[in-house]
């Protein structure tokens, strides 16, 4: 997926392709590898059980290389979360297109959403981020920006679906957005922790039904299919 690869590299593509790795490019590559390793380890072991040394070793670098790229483990962790969110935004960009038929847009959203859900590491890291925020005011302040962006993005999506469906929201959009985000994260956490009790089909049917109920409260049912 060429699109996101370059979304994080602030250099011109043609130069990058031709030139040998400049100092800045190689630094960027080190940072990306540390982010990849950090995400994997944090998702699998948890943030507290993952040390700077572990991350550096898993990425194939020294402790020194880590600290020349990130100030602290939390710093790297925040960049992991920000990078994931940028990727998600890039995937969704252009989906809310007025010209395409509604069903096509919905199908595309469903597809993207399913792809997101299959990325377990990213979800585990995000939940670690929420837990850290609940405990650490400094991190909370940083995460708040990402959460607000997520919420606003969900607002746009919901608003778009209502508009295309020719209906008005049953609840204030921000309330709906935060509720839907909570619902989705709660269901994913349930599935991750109890896959036997909540297999994927059950999770999907719950999401469908709950989203449907919240979005059509008091009105006709199933007029807006949000595609979750």
């Amino acid at each position: 997926m060429v699109v996101f690869k370059y979304a994080f590299v602030p250099y011109k593509v043609d130069r990058m392709a031709r030139k040998r790795l400049s100092r800045a490019d190689s630094r960027e590559r080190t940072a990306q590898r540390l982010l990849d390793a950090g995400e994997r380890l944090i998702a699998r072991r948890g943030l507290d059980a993952t040390s700077v040394e572990d991350i550096a070793a898993a990425a194939g670098y020294s402790r020194g290389a880590f600290y020349s790229n990130f100030k602290s483990k939390e710093d790297l962790f925040f960049d992991v979360l920000r990078r994931n969110q940028e990727r998600t935004n890039a995937r969704f960009a252009g989906v809310l297109d007025q010209a395409s038929p509604l069903e096509q847009v919905q199908a595309r959203i469903r597809e993207l959403y399913a792809a997101l859900c299959s990325d377990g590491d990213s979800f585990m890291a995000w939940t670690e981020g929420r837990m850290l925020s609940a405990r650490d005011p400094n991190f909370r302040e940083r995460l708040a920006a990402l959460v607000a962006q997520r919420r606003d993005f969900a607002v746009q999506l919901i608003e778009y679906l209502y508009r295309r469906g020719g209906h008005s929201p049953s609840l204030p959009l921000e309330t709906l957005a935060m509720g839907l985000i909570s619902l989705i994260e709660g269901v994913r956490l349930f599935v991750a922790s109890c896959p036997d009790q909540m297999p994927r089909e059950v999770a999907e049917s719950i999401l469908r039904d709950f989203v449907d109920s919240a979005m059509t409260q008091g009105g006709p049912r199933a007029v807006v299919q949000p595609g979750f």
Binding site: A49, T127, A134, R151, G179, I181, I184, V202
Partner: protein, 228 residues
């Protein structure tokens, strides 16, 4: 005086008291620092005991953690159980359930412990197998509440009870995680009102008295007319 009082405690009672204090200390510490960052020594010290006292009561930290969860669930279930009183009018029962639910939002330590448990379960199959029993019990308990409401309303739920119960649990945990991690974006009262709005919307769709035929079972989950 205190000494004579203590003397009256049998060996068994003394042991029970130690275990109880360790459970309380663990819940506090785990909420504050996280499971991984709370060692057996930390917990023993917080409770005012030695490492030896810990191990004469619990085999491992996870053993104690499981006991924290078990007791927490027992307390929470007891709070809801008193609401389901046939002598009370339906409206009052609903109000009591809402009140109890809202009260849970103040129980931060309990919530943090459960989220830690979900994360640990996602990573550790052994712990997952242990916690699955508790979560199944909670699901069944919530299903009983829904079924009770359905009976009082005179409706047959149009969605499998187990899935509904898991959906409510997920929603509630997701909202609480959002609130705990982003208290500025979602202060406790907002968190609670979002939960309330969503639960009401779903119940309104799922429990429609006198419209049983209209609300045909949808969802891909096997219809469950009763709890186990």
């Amino acid at each position: 005086m205190a000494a004579t009082k203590r003397k009256r405690l049998t060996r068994e009672e003394g042991r029970e008291l130690t275990a109880q204090r360790l459970v309380e200390a663990a819940q506090r510490l785990i909420a504050r620092r996280g499971l991984e960052a709370s060692s057996v020594e930390d917990i023993a010290e917080e409770a005012g005991y030695s490492r030896g006292a810990f191990y004469s009561n619990f085999k491992t930290k996870n053993d104690l953690f499981f006991e924290v969860l078990r007791q927490d669930q027992e307390r929470n279930n007891a709070k809801f159980a008193v609401a389901l009183d046939d002598a009370l009018p339906l409206e009052q029962i609903r109000a009591r359930i809402k009140e109890t639910n809202a009260g849970l939002f103040d129980e931060r330590d309990s919530f943090m412990a459960w989220t830690e448990a979900r994360m640990l379960s996602a990573r550790d199959p052994k712990f997952r197998a242990r916690v699955a029993g508790l979560i199944a019990e909670r699901r069944d308990f919530v299903a009983t509440i829904i079924q009770y409401l359905a009976r009082r309303v005179g409706a047959t739920p149009s969605f499998p009870l187990d899935a509904l119960a898991m959906g409510f649990i997920s929603l509630s945990e997701g909202v609480r995680l959002f609130g705990a991690s982003c208290p500025n974006e979602m202060p406790a009262e907002v968190a609670y009102s979002i939960l309330d709005l969503f639960v009401d919307a779903v119940l309104q769709q799922v429990l429609q008295p006198g419209r049983r035929e209209a609300a045909a079972p949808r969802g891909s989950v096997k219809s469950a007319g009763a709890t186990r």
